[in-house]
Structure formats: structure tokens, C-alpha cells
Symmetry: C3
Subunit: 256 residues, 3 copies
């Protein structure tokens, strides 16, 4: 089925730019001018401005889902123009380009990761490295330039991690809400385990297999699609019902 | 002009996921990992969470505009994880994949429609059939698997229809607002007919050819791009002016 | 690297349609039905309804960033259905299609620009020229039709320009805010010049090289990525802090 004639570099974009100002459009123009047969894929441009943590979690979800050879450009960059480094990462056969603020951590944590520091020349716009540093680096990679030629080796990039839950003496795990998604589901840092009960404030919520095991409007906890427990409300918004936001404490009590 | 070397499967995505959580990104990764030369096309990810009816209306607009062979993935799925079936539909040369909740009705209503029930294996995430059921089915179709091999025949899928207007004794048609669009235009279920008058509350609005036949700020009714009458305000927001929303009653009085 | 077998027409879309109503989806269907190997690229669909000026500024940013041969479709069109012309523009090797309301001005101002008036036949939906006039014209161009065959020559298209700053007797330049972007940065019509000071209300803000030269939360002026001075707040929202919006007066005082 696959035909080498249509082999295209896949380049994804993940930013906090929105689309309304044309910044993403400019980046797409740079990419397609440099690599006319690239497949440019939008991951999202709706990360809240400068929310590095939220972007990191999206990177964690998507970066390894794409085929080997994919180039992910991630620009959520409150430090643009400062002395923070601009990174290229090669990890598990994929490439990632973005600022050195932890947003690329999911790929940096792989054993295979190699990192280079991209040079920032003086004619680069100090406010728009997405267009003038990261998109050109993607063009270079997609055009066959060797990864190591992109910059000098970088030994200590910034790495962020989701906080680990803490086990109490009685075995209960104290965790927290990592993200509230569009549906009002609160994704926690508690690894999935059926038979347990989530405690959040005064609420006690059994961990079940699917939303459909409770009645509409009721709270339910399920093991979500990344393996972590999510608190949801069937056909409703759990985060609003429980007033949950990023960092809210939640605990997991298991029956054993 | 057309060259068989660049023949690519076209796969469209229509969801209520937004893009901010990375769920759509994961689906794109699954699709491009399975079918590297696919053309993945965003229809929308902005359907309000779980608004099956709104998604159905977008499906109605777009599904047959795409070339034969197109695969449409439609995931607006309040019942994910329940016993609702997961469908594949072949209709008028296009394929559609989505939950059995009526969202695929526009394609199901064609005489040529065939439907199969996609198997949901036990290792599928109960909360994310978009990634684990529908995207893999699209990959299978795009890779040449035969439609009938995707699942077992399904005889009575859920079908939703736009309500029909009702004719009064005096010939006036009682209809309703089907959707209010981004511009505040209220699309009705009344088939276009010039020479008539729309009655909505105390307002009487002549059906005209274009918005431009009234002055800025004035109400106007026109035959919209799908053949149904829309109530608009030139350079304004008719739904706000008339307090219209989905289901609001409107009537069409014709001169004859 | 480049292989003529994968030469694809690039067609970009810039609208105020949002995606929720399926209008953009319909246009993509028309484009891919007519040109199955086209690369359809979203610039934005989030222009506020009928905000021709904002769309014009995005066109200015992006149109020449794309490779020669690119076809840009721009539909922000408060006058759809009126007697305003529908334009095709050939300029600097790119093509642009859109209404004659100034939205295509950045390309019209090039010396090389040629313009034709697209015919609007009677079976076109009076409310949706994006689907029925501009997308078919893009299909014609991408299929090899000659530009001049698309319509009759047009000699006086509507052109809009960003207002020029005015120089006071004492050398201070009186300018204005042209756009407030998603980050709350206020882009002005004052061409970049370091060593100057921006005056806005009672505030005096030195023009610096990067955001990072001030402390978080502080106001800063920088030369933005298009060469014009922007007023920003490091890790903050300058437009909110200074209550700036499109048209707000700002002045540039230089030290000489």
C-alpha cells in the first residue's frame, strides 16, 4: 500500500498562539516554503497563553503516537528572547523542537533522548522563535540535515514531571488533579486500579470501568485513556460539581 | 492533472473534543501511523460537548461534499463505554465511522447505506473509542480492508431527523429554528420559497434573495446555502435581536 | 529532495466562519473533490464575524510566506450577495481569492498585481460565495486554468491601508494601535527603532530588544516580528494594563 513516491515528512504544531493573529499561518508558510511536500498537522493552538504545564501534558499524550520520523514543533514560550536555550530533541525515532522550559520533558525522559542547543542568530526576531528558529530547524531536519548538525550538544535541559502521589501509613494514596479537560473530567496522577475509592472533599467515588455504570448526572471515577484515574460526571461536568482545578487534592483508598 | 502516485486516502475528523487536551492529536497520530500518506482533514472539534444534534447537522452539510472514498470519523459520543454500538457506514461511495446515536443519520438515510457494528475488544479504553475503535477502523479501510470485514451487519441503527414543518388549515407552515450559526443567523426547517413572509413572534420578515436587499441592522429572511430559509440581520445578529434558539417556533406564510 | 510526483497545489483558507457550522468543511469538500491531491491549509477561521480589517492584517502577515503557486482563499465578507465584486488576484507568484472589500489589499499593493472580477452566476447561493464562487475558482486555478480566463480584468479594486503615523513639529511620531493580539500585545503602526520611548497616556516605555529585558509584570516595547513596535507586558497582558484597543493613540519619541 505504501508508496515511496508519497513519503512525506510529517511536521506537527503545538502552540499557545491561537490562529487569529496569523502567527501559526506564518509558521506554516515557512514550513511549506522549505518543504513543499510536508504534511503539516495541527495538534492544538489553544493552549492558554504561556501555560507550559498544560502543553507538556499534551506533548506526553501525542508525541509517540505519531510515526517515526515525525517532527513535533512545540512553542509555548514565556521566555522568548531571554537566554533560555532553544532545543532540538531526538527521542524514540521522533524529533521535537521547542524552548528549554520543560515543555519537551516527555521526550527528554526517554533513555534514547539526545538534545542539541539550536543557535539563535542575531537576525532572528526576538519575539518569534517559532517562525525564525524552530520552523527553520524543522525544515532542515525534513530536508535531510543530520540531527547532530543542528547545534551543539546540550547536557542539562529543563525537565518537568507530574508530581508523584504520596502513600500514607494506612495505604491511602494522596494525589492531585493534573488537568481538567474540556468535558470537565478531572484527570489525576493516580494510576488506575479498579476496586478502589476516590476521596475528594466529602465525596466518595468508586472507581468503575465506564461512565455508563452510573446514572446520568452522577459522579464516577474511571481509568482514563492514559491509564490514570479520572473523576467524571456522566453527561455532566465533574470539575464544576466538585470545584476541582489543577492541583486540587484527591486520594485513592483501596479495599485491601 | 491527477496522478495516481499521489492518490491519498482522505480521512476527516468531526468531534466535540476541542484540541486543547490532545485527544484529537492522539487520533491523528494513530491515523498517520497506520496510513502515512493519508490526508487528515479537520471538519470541526468545536461541537459543544455531547451535542449530537449539532454534530448531525454538520455531517448533513459536509459528508457528500467530499470525493468518493472519503472516510469521515464523527465522534460526539455521550454514551461511550455503554452498550451503544460503534458503527461503520458505507453510503454513496463514502464511509462514515461513529457511535450509534443518530449522529451519522444523514448517511444512513440514503438508500445505498450499508451498516456494520464494529467489535469493541476488551483492551479498548472505555472512555476513548475515537482513538481505539474509530481511528483503527479508518486505518483498516484506508489500507484496503473490505468494508464488510469490519464487523457484523447492523440492521437498525439509530436515526434522527430534523422535524418536519406542519401545515395549518390556512396554509401557513409552522416550523422551527434548527440551528443558530456563528453569525447569529437562525436556520429553519422551512424549505426556501421566495414571495413568502416569515412570522416570528410579532415580527414579519419578507423572504428575499440576499442580505443586501435590506439596510444594515435590519432583519431579513433568505434561502440559505442548504435550501432552507434563514433569518438574518444585515451586519447584525438576528438570533440575539429576536431571542431565537434551537427549537424556537417560526412560521412561513405564502402569498398564495 | 523534491519530487515532482508529489507536487501538490497548496490552497489556504482564511475565514470568519468558525468551524462549528460546517461551512469550512463544505469548502474543504469542494476543494478536495475538485483537486484530490491539494494540500488544504487552515490559516484561521476565528476572525471575529465580518472584521475585514483584522483579516487584512493576517493576510499581510502570511500571503508571501507561502511558496509561489499557493492559492489563498480569504472569506470575510459582510457584503455577500450585494453588488460587491468577487476578486481573483495574481501577485508575486501567489494567487488570492476573496471579496472586493479591501481584505486582499496586501497583495493588491504589489506592483505585479493583476486582478480579475469573478463571474457570479445565478445558481450560486447568495449567502455562501466561499463555497460557490471562491472554492470553485481555486479548483480551476489548481487544475491549470489560466488566471486571465477566470474573469474580466478589474481596474479599481478596494484597497485598505494601515494609517501612517504623523510627525509633530518636535519630531515625535503620533501613531496608533493597529491590533491587540491574543497575548495582549498591542501592535502599533510605528516602525521599529531602538533608543526611542513609547508614550501612551501617562506611561513612558523604552523600546528594548526583548521582553526579557524587563522584570515579569513590567511593560516593555519591542520591535515585533513584522518590524513594527509592539507594547507588551512580560508574562502579562499589556492591552489590559493600559486599556488599549485598535485605534488607541500611541506616540514614539526618539532621543535625537
Amino acid at each position: 500500500m505504501f508508496d515511496s513516491h508519497v513519503m512525506r515528512p510529517i511536521i506537527t504544531l503545538l502552540t499557545d498562539f491561537g490562529t487569529i493573529d496569523g502567527y501559526v499561518g506564518e509558521m506554516k508558510g515557512v514550513l511549506l516554503s522549505g518543504v513543499p511536500n510536508a504534511e503539516v498537522v495541527d495538534i492544538t493552538h489553544d493552549i492558554p497563553p504561556q501555560d507550559v504545564e498544560r502543553a507538556r501534558l499534551v506533548v506526553a499524550r501525542v508525541w509517540r503516537r505519531f510515526p517515526e520520523g515525525t517532527i513535533h514543533i512545540v512553542v509555548v514560550d514565556p521566555g522568548v528572547g531571554s537566554s533560555r536555550a532553544a532545543l532540538a530533541v531526538a527521542s524514540d525515532g521522533r524529533y521535537l523542537l521547542g524552548p528549554d522550559n520543560g515543555v519537551l520533558s516527555p521526550a527528554l525522559l526517554s533513555n534514547s533522548a539526545r538534545v542539541v542547543d539550536l543557535p539563535i542568530t542575531s537576525h532572528v526576531a526576538a519575539t518569534f522563535h517559532g517562525r525564525d528558529v524552530f520552523a527553520p530547524a524543522a525544515v532542515a531536519l525534513a530536508s535531510g540535515e543530520h540531527f547532530d548538525a543542528l547545534g551543539s550538544e546540550m547536557r542539562s535541559p529543563v525537565v518537568r514531571r507530574t508530581p508523584e502521589p504520596v502513600r500514607r501509613a494506612d495505604g491511602v494514596l494522596d494525589g492531585e488533579v493534573v488537568i481538567v479537560d474540556r468535558f470537565g473530567n478531572a484527570v489525576t496522577n493516580l494510576l488506575g486500579m479498579r476496586g478502589g475509592t476516590i476521596e475528594v472533599g466529602a465525596a466518595r467515588i468508586a472507581v468503575r470501568r465506564t461512565y455508563a455504570e452510573v446514572d446520568p448526572g452522577e459522579l464516577v471515577a474511571v481509568v482514563g485513556s492514559t491509564g490514570f484515574i479520572e473523576i467524571a460526571a456522566r453527561d455532566g461536568n465533574a470539575a464544576e460539581m466538585l470545584q476541582l482545578s489543577r492541583g486540587s487534592p484527591v486520594a485513592l483508598r483501596t479495599s485491601r
